[in-house]
Amino acid sequence: MTQHRLTCPVKKEDLAPLRAGDTVLLSGVIYTARDAAHKRLFALLEEGKPLPFDVRGAAVYYAGPTPAPEGRPIGACGPTTSGRMDAYAPALMREGLIVMIGKGARSDEVKAAVVETGSVYLAATGGAGALAAACVESAELVCYEDLGSEAVRRLVVRDMPLTVVLDAHGGDLYREGPVAYLASLEP
């Protein structure tokens, strides 16, 4: 288990050393987008229209924060269940999206697209919204303000602690982690 430091946006070669089960301290720019925003982004791609932010080398964070209290950039902002974005994620990866941050299992299509495009899927700690907020230095609206919590926001984060779930080589922590734990119980 290795710890890596990454600063987004990233290049494919920066992600190649990552292996499922490794940890990452992620800094730089990430974009929040969840169900409703993904539906709109996907519709833009279908219509051949440009996306509202540059997804090349970018990280998307499946999250919908609580409102920011005065004096703080953001409220609680842990990850949402990523599987609901599976229908849209491969198309975004083919546009250049390279880091997905969320929690929970992904489809076979997403796993294949991760390997095909050299991307990674990183897990933030599900349900740890107050702790995640401490890593966010700034948050600004990019688009879809009408979606409230589901709007796309550009976050600048510092040392956000993440765990590699899917790596570009086909590794999957959700498959391998439980197997390794159960194997440790064998006499």
């Binding site: 842990g78 269940t81 349900g127 401490a134 919590s149 959700y174 734990y181 440790s184």
Partner: protein, 279 residues
């Protein structure tokens, strides 16, 4: 006849929405901290440590424990000797709107399940009212996040499937849920009644102190057995592998029809929360 103003119901619900999202019940917090002590697998122990740090961060900053501050499930027991001065259901919804807006909680409710569209104030509540003897009103607000709600299941089993059928369905539900519901989970199980009663029993079971047991020793033993089987799955905290997949299994039961054996499993995450008050 005692009179309670609808405005007082509204204000109580508003307070409970905020309190539930900022303070985990002590039994849940204790269960989480003690799971960290007893977890043998290093990555799982570290992950449980992160969840405990998150509780500390929430207490320090006043931010909600989790950004999914849920759909507000409200259980109200209204004394039959109480007169509500005003519209009770409207007061509960007004309380949810007030609590979620003033408390800076997330508005996570859409107006229509297919056509969507955020209601903007997290209303309506999912309200369950029981009429009981007395002149008090007991209000419980249990905000339910959908990472775990989405992994819940219900089955209309055949009576011939018996105890094993129920147990296998519960364990299989948690296995299929995997990493999605933010394990370690709390497993609410409803057995019996009708289709909708089983689901309500399962949800209600999540209000019990985690680690408490069914009054009937037969079901209490089943709770322990199911917890052991679930914690042998290997899913572990966050699904990264480990012992602590569930903190508790809580069963509620109700008589059922000669032809049926409904069983519902409502999964709660590691932030299974509620707050209550008696007016």
């Amino acid at each position: 006849m005692r009179t309670i103003k609808a405005d007082d119901i509204r204000d109580a619900v508003a307070r409970l929405c905020v309190e539930a999202n900022l303070h985990l019940p002590c039994d849940m917090e204790r269960a989480l901290r003690s799971a960290r002590e007893s977890e043998p697998w290093p990555l799982a122990k570290a992950t449980l440590g992160t969840l405990c740090e998150n509780l500390d961060a929430s207490a320090r900053t006043g931010l909600p424990i989790c950004q999914d501050t849920g759909m507000a499930c409200v259980f109200a027991e209204v004394g039959q000797d109480v007169h509500i001065d005003g519209d009770f259901e409207a007061a509960v919804d007004a309380g949810v709107a007030k609590g979620y807006t003033e408390g800076l909680l997330r508005k996570s409710v859409v107006r229509d399940p297919i056509r969507r569209g955020n209601t903007g104030d997290n209303t309506p509540a999912v309200l369950h009212v029981r009429l009981v003897p007395g002149d008090r009103v007991h209000l419980v607000v249990a905000p339910k996040g959908f990472g775990s709600e989405n992994m819940s299941r219900i089955a209309m089993l055949k009576p011939s499937q018996g105890e094993d059928g129920v147990k296998d369905f519960v364990v299989e539900t948690v296995r299929l849920a995997g990493s999605n519901p933010c394990p370690p989970v709390v497993v609410g199980v409803g057995v019996g009644g009708t289709f909708e009663r089983a689901a309500l029993l399962a949800k209600h079971a999540l209000l019990r102190p985690v680690g408490s047991h069914h009054a009937d020793p037969y079901y209490a033993a089943m709770e322990d057995e199911l917890l052991a089987r679930i914690n042998a799955l290997g899913t572990g905290p966050q699904g990264f592998g480990g012992k602590t997949t569930a903190l508790g299994v809580q069963i509620e039961t109700f008589p059922t029809h000669i032809a049926g054996m409904p069983v519902a499993v409502n999964i709660g995450c590691h932030v299974t929360r509620h707050a209550e008050v008696i007016l």
